[in-house]
Amino acid sequence: MSDSSERFTLFVIILNQPDLLDDVLTGFLDIGVQGATVLESRGMGQIIRQEMPIFAGLAGMFGENTGSRMIFSVMPEGLAESVFKLVDEVAQQVNSPGAAVCFTLPVDQFRLPKR
């Protein structure tokens, strides 16, 4: 996959509009991201709305929330900027602030199992 000097980053996307998942993953393939892990998740607002009646009167503060997806991908650092641009492009489709939140974390070591 790479030489040992190549630097990697963990790219994390919190996708608050699950409908956009196909577009993100299609974009990953296009850009050259070779793999990702996707988890179904719930945001704080959704949990507060559904499970914490004490805050029911303030539920409107948190907006509608239909669940989210967490996308994790370790990738060469050089791809990260393209992925940020991709997420911007995809999120613009729905014109909703917070549709996708993303960040990167440095990866100290990355090894694939030997075949």
Binding site: T26, G27, F28, L29, D30, I31, G32, K85, L86
Partner: protein, 154 residues
């Protein structure tokens, strides 16, 4: 992945002969073979039909993305056709398609094949972009518009 690396002007057409899916794939296979002489038209046609048999490549946006991995080419390339009047594509979910992106590539470049397909899927998912492509009045014009749409995406 940029489409510009995989399209060429002599493989982009505007057609006025809708016909059936099979007739369209046969015609496009022949045209591709005419331009890329190492490709066998009949082998390409059969390979495309085999892929379609696994599930139609037509999308709800009225686009078809037939694709084949085969011998006769060392690189992935795309042939594009705008079919005036549209064409049924034997898909239960899609009545007619009028834009065809045919992707042909070698078997040892499957990852690149997937990436080109993903690029096409992104471009074809933009309804405004598809409108601009459908407004093309010639193959040359369609080729130019494709490059413009390609440039609109990361």
């Amino acid at each position: 992945m940029k489409l510009s690396e995989h399209i060429r002007p002599d493989l982009v057409w505007v057609l006025d002969t809708p016909g059936s899916r099979d007739a369209l794939l046969r015609e496009l296979s022949g045209r591709v073979s005419g331009a890329v002489t190492s490709i066998d038209a009949e082998a390409l046609y059969k390979s495309l039909l085999e892929r379609e048999a696994k599930g139609p490549t037509a999308t709800p946006e009225g686009v078809a993305l037939p694709h084949a991995m085969m011998t006769g080419t060392e690189e992935n390339f795309i042939a594009v056709a705008l079919v005036r009047g549209g064409c049924e594509f034997q898909s239960p979910r899609v009545k007619k398609i009028d834009l065809v992106f045919m992707l042909v590539g070698p078997q040892d470049k499957a990852w690149q094949h997937i990436r080109v397909l993903a690029r096409l899927a992104r471009i074809c998912h933009d309804p405004t972009g598809l409108e601009r492509l459908r407004a093309a009045d010639s193959g040359e014009d369609l080729f130019k518009r494709l490059l413009e749409e390609d440039a609109r995406h990361v």
